[in-house]
């Protein structure tokens, strides 16, 4: 048992802590040992915080002991070693966004989700790697180093939360927080054979999440199974007075949604998601998953989301436009990289020109162009209008079905370097995840088999604030198939 502590799910580890069969320090040490063993290969972390983690673990153990003596239950996150994507601010812990421009940035405050994790007593193991400012689908856009897929070190873990997904898959933490602007939680979760949940826009506070595209960004859990996703979401969800776009709807206990029962649940299968160019093995795994749901009693319905193909250009206009403003603050004045020159504006140009990597610069250029005089209507405004249509597609679909299932990605994890030189090709790997962000709805990716030995992700989409629905369907499928128990051969 002891040797596999790092492979436990959060829920399992919590049970052991509750029963006094292990301690937070033991769990944390197991995770740190695993990091020591595999991190050189996987490279999931930008910053590892072992001292802090052990300190928090010791504190957690004291609390656990008190709770146990008093016969009280305690937060399922108390004493659990988790990691955080390095685009979420942590007070006093370097937060780089995998960018040279923030290489030495130490936030003076905690993101709201980090406050919530700390309150729950979670142990923070470190900050995970990502595509610079979450812009990318492979984690190759990290300014520091690429992360590798634990299932095949020659392949990418997906992105942009590739570090989080790889760390969870490799047992380098029990769970992680990623962020999802166009698929950045779900696609790496699919590539690494783990679970990733993108909450509805407004469900989780964005305060302290370094903004990429403000109208699309959401923080979401990356975990080993559906139970853990529900559990982490219960902790981080809720209204935050510091985020005007977070809603004050009550937060349900998502664990209660985990009923392995889908009889009568209407499952929509959008025909537009089974397109040419989808990998055969992926399609096969998804079709089998749909059959499985049907066998479990779900009512499978073919539906249409007619504007699906427009989602990609829509997204790649709106997100870069917002990003071009969000990233204007990096000017070398208040924080971050500063490159001296003979004159102020030259300092701005050099600081930004050298501080940002190629993909970030590309998106700033694209976004600036889409907003600039003479192009606003044709690009930015047009995209906002098409966004209305994409949202409408989903609204209409959810009148007919409870959830929609589709592949998370048209392919399994691709090779490192395979798409780096062709940005458009890279963008196309987000084609199935992007519509969810544009519509502001929720979705979860869960493992549903393998194609050529690499994990395939099944995406379950639900209406805005319908997290309980997707969790229930995902849980029922997971319990019926057990794909989530597969571990990479590291």
């Amino acid at each position: 048992m002891e040797s596999a502590l790092h492979h436990l799910s959060i829920y399992q580890a919590h049970k052991l802590l509750k029963e006094g069969q292990t301690t937070s320090v033991e769990l944390t040490e197991a995770v740190l040992r695993q990091i020591e063993k595999v991190e050189g290969l996987v490279k999931a972390y930008i910053t590892i915080t072992p001292e802090l983690a052990l300190k928090q673990a010791r504190l957690a153990d004291e609390k656990i002991l008190r709770h146990r003596k008093a016969g009280e239950s305690f937060s399922p996150l108390l004493g659990i070693p988790i990691s955080i994507k390095d685009i979420i601010c942590t007070e006093g812990i370097r937060t780089t966004c995998a960018s040279r421009i923030l290489e030495n940035f130490f936030p003076p405050y905690d993101a709201t989700v980090v406050e919530k994790l700390k309150e729950a007593g979670a142990v923070i193991v470190g900050k995970t790697n990502l595509d610079e400012f979450a812009m990318g689908s492979s984690t190759e856009n990290s300014a520091f180093f690429p992360t590798r897929n634990p299932w095949d070190l020659e392949r990418v873990p997906g992105g942009s939360s590739g570090g989080s997904a790889a760390a969870v898959a490799a047992g380098e933490c029990l769970g992680s927080l990623g962020t999802d602007t166009g698929g950045s939680v779900r696609q790496p979760a699919a590539f690494c054979g783990v679970t990733g949940l993108k909450p509805s826009y407004g469900r989780v506070s964005r305060y302290g999440l370094v903004a990429f595209a403000s109208s699309l960004d959401q923080i979401g859990p990356i975990t080993k199974d559906v139970t853990d996703a529900a559990l982490l979401l219960s902790v981080i969800a809720g209204h935050d007075p510091k985020d005007s776009t977070s809603v004050d709807y009550p937060v349900p206990d998502y664990l209660k949604a985990l009923v392995p029962e889908v009889k009568g649940v209407r499952v929509g299968v959008p025909k537009e998601y089974f397109i040419e160019g989808m990998e055969e093995g992926v399609e096969k795994a998804i079709r089998e998953a749909i059959d499985c749901l049907e066998e479990l009693g779900a009512e499978v319905v073919e539906i249409s989301l007619p504007h699906t193909k427009y989602a990609l250009p829509t997204y790649y206009l709106i997100a870069p436009a917002e990003a071009s403003a969000n990233l204007a603050r990096y000017d070398g004045v208040k924080y971050g990289l500063y490159i001296p020159a003979s004159e102020l504006w030259e300092e701005y140009r050099l600081t930004r020109g050298n501080g940002f990597g190629p993909e970030v610069k590309r998106r700033i250029m694209l976004g600036t162009y889409a907003l600039s005089a003479g192009y606003y209507d044709a690009y930015y405004l047009k995209a906002q209008k098409v966004r209305t249509l994409i949202k409408k597609d989903f609204d209409e679909a959810f009148e007919k079905v409870d959830v929609i299932v589709a592949p998370t990605s048209p392919t399994v994890a691709f090779k490192l370097g395979e798409k780096v030189e062709d940005p458009l090709k890279m963008y196309l790997s987000d084609v199935f995840t992007i519509p969810v962000n544009l519509a502001g709805i929720c979705a979860i990716s869960i493992p549903c088999g393998f194609s050529e030995g690499l994990p395939v992700g099944l995406q379950v989409m639900g209406p805005a604030f319908g997290e309980e629905k997707i969790l229930r369907v995902a849980y029922a499928y997971e319990q019926a198939t057990q794909w989530h128990l597969k571990r990479p051969p590291l």
Partner: protein
């Protein structure tokens, strides 16, 4: 929808981004390809469609006018590259 070299330079200046000659060339090529692909959006008639800036039904999210203590100066300016006596310093600002 090809984007010209001059446009690349103009946009880079709006965004205050230094680009090498090689980067400019690449940017021109890649942005042109991307914009070509995006041209498919023009297929859709959106003349009667309202734009979506936010998917949320939220309105009138406001706070009361209650002041709270600010941050300690050393802490808030800890990351600033250049400081003088509690001020942030930059090269002289010219238009």
């Amino acid at each position: 929808m090809a984007i010209t070299r001059e446009e690349v330079e103009h946009i880079a200046e709006l965004a205050k981004l230094y680009l090498t000659e090689e980067e400019k060339e690449k940017m021109q090529r890649q942005l042109s390809a991307i914009l070509d692909y995006f041209a498919m959006l023009q297929e859709i008639d959106t003349s009667l469609i309202p734009p979506t800036a936010t998917v949320l039904p939220l309105r009138n999210v406001m706070r009361e006018d209650t002041p709270a203590p600010s941050f300690d100066r050393d802490k808030i300016l800890a990351n600033a590259p250049q400081k003088v006596e509690g001020y942030v310093k930059v090269k002289v600002v010219l238009e």
